[in-house]
Amino acid sequence: MGKTKTIQKTLNSKGASIFKKMLEDKKAIHQHLKKGGKLDDLKNKYRFVKPLSTSGS
């Protein structure tokens, strides 16, 4: 296992906006799934990355 370190800072910078955007997207997608929606419905709204194939292809 790799080593783990902790950085704790108060952010009101670009870093803050990045983490905030990630969190907002996560929440919005969570709500969509909870309502029975599919990720496919959101493909034009978020930049989903196609997972690598589990078959290794």
């Binding site: 783990t4 704790q8 800072k9 009101n12 983490f19 969190l23 990720l39 990355v49 690598l52």
Partner: protein
């Protein structure tokens, strides 16, 4: 010996697996490379890692080691491209982010084979605590540079 749950590719955007207790998990990655334009070392293949439950109640299902094993399997696949980098943020809207982080850390500690390095951060944004972690393959050719950039990202308090 426990095995990961079978991963299904239900769509082009996520992995899905269903536990023995009937919980349906979605695991997906979002591309945020475009947001790291000011951080060239980070800006090539930065994805957020997300795990979500669409069916079932994790509160009543108890702990399930196979779930952790399955998440690690997703990372094994994801990091088969060693240039990939992922950031995990814990949802803090329901005040359960510390528990989520603890579970994620436990999975990482227990099941990681040592090929992945995890760097933790805590961002305070508008009085909200956002726990975050960077995960990077040890053999990423830019490993040290990317970790440095991640630290710098957290350290730039006050930048507008």
């Amino acid at each position: 010996m426990l095995n990961p749950y079978p991963l299904q590719e239900a769509d082009n955007f996520s992995y899905q697996f269903i536990t023995d207790t009937g919980i349906t998990y979605h695991v997906y990655f979002l591309d945020y490379s475009y947001m790291f334009a000011g951080y060239p070392a980070l800006g090539r293949k930065i994805y957020s890692f997300n795990i979500d439950v669409s069916e079932g109640d994790t509160d009543i299902s108890g702990s399930d080691e196979r779930t952790g094993l399955t998440i690690v399997e997703v990372f094994r696949i994801f990091f088969s491209q060693v240039e990939n980098v992922t950031v995990y943020v814990c949802d803090s809207s329901d005040e359960r982010h510390i528990a989520r982080k603890r579970k994620f850390d436990f999975w990482f500690w227990k099941y990681s084979d040592g090929s992945i390095i995890k760097e933790d951060g805590v961002a305070i944004v508008e009085d909200m605590e956002i726990l975050n972690s960077l995960l990077i393959h040890r053999n990423n050719p830019d490993c040290a540079e990317i970790i440095f950039a991640f630290k710098d990202l957290n350290a730039r308090a006050g930048d507008k």
